[in-house]
């Protein structure tokens, strides 16, 4: 398992901003492993969908005290 290339802390941001920031990062680095932290209810599903549309995959999703941690990967 490769290391996290970048952590995006999108906590406190309303949808669609977590998606937009994650999208921007995916475009910027091209491939790798990104961690996204969000506390916006709709964002996990939307971030996962945006990642899939860009050829990335959602590796894991976990929730702790209202914060969802998503790990996205593209090799």
């Amino acid at each position: 398992m490769s290391a996290i290339t970048k952590t995006i802390d999108a906590r406190g941001l309303a949808c669609p901003q977590p998606v937009l920031i994650a999208t921007d990062e995916m475009d910027a680095i091209g491939c790798g492993r990104i961690e996204v932290l969000t506390d916006c209810g709709a964002s996990p599903e939307n971030v996962g969908r945006a990642a899939k549309a860009k050829g990335w995959r959602l590796v894991s999703s976990s929730e702790d005290k209202g914060t969802v941690r998503l790990v996205l990967e593209k090799e």
Partner: protein, 193 residues
């Protein structure tokens, strides 16, 4: 003053007198249910009328949060088309002085490289340069996830019209947002920046 269709029972009469020449070219129709607004818009457009779905002026709120704006001079044609579709508005009135204008259903927010268009309860966000749909959110209807799956990652030209794939009010709101995004971000002719 006798209104073209007359007000419906639920809509109060305006206490303001109309001003000659002010805003008499447009009228608005209210319907009992949003589903009827959708059918009315389709029937009127199908008959060649230019109509817009808008938020109702405060005086005309009848329970449905959308009205159809039309050209008042086309009233007889609109009446025929609606009758053919078995539709009857609960209230119809000219947009005149003293009545607040119908309000746009759309809200747009500029996020720099992205534009978000909101129509009613649905939000659609597009990359302005590529015109690719990057996010769809809102709703709560069962077909929203499937619609989002279909549209996200597609350009505004390649994506299917939401109402061609969904049947709910969310699909309709998304359709309106989709059309508005297409209007605000028209395709540029090739070879031009």
């Amino acid at each position: 003053m006798r209104l073209p269709f007359g007000w419906g029972d639920k809509a109060p009469r305006s206490t303001q007198k109309p001003v000659a020449g002010a805003g008499h070219d447009k009228g608005v129709m209210a319907f009992a249910h949003t589903a009827e607004v959708i059918r009315a818009e389709a029937a009127l457009r199908g008959g060649g009328l230019e109509v817009r779905v808008m938020g109702p002026p405060p005086e005309m709120r009848t329970g449905c949060d959308m009205v159809v704006e039309f050209e008042l001079m086309r009233e007889p044609q609109a009446r025929r088309l609606l009758a053919q579709a078995n539709l009857a508005p609960v209230a119809v009135a000219p947009v005149r002085a003293g009545m607040l204008e119908p309000v746009s259903l759309f809200q747009t927010k500029d996020f720099g490289p992205w534009l978000m268009v909101r129509a009613a309860n649905m939000k659609l966000t597009v990359d302005k340069a590529s015109r690719v749909i990057v996010n769809i959110s809102g709703g709560g209807c069962p077909d929203v996830p499937a619609l989002a799956e279909l549209l996200v990652g597609q350009t505004l030209d390649a994506a299917p019209a939401p109402l061609s794939r969904g049947q709910t009010l969310c699909a309709y709101a998304l359709e309106l947002a989709f059309r508005e995004a297409q209007r605000q971000l028209p395709e540029r002719p090739r070879g031009r920046p």
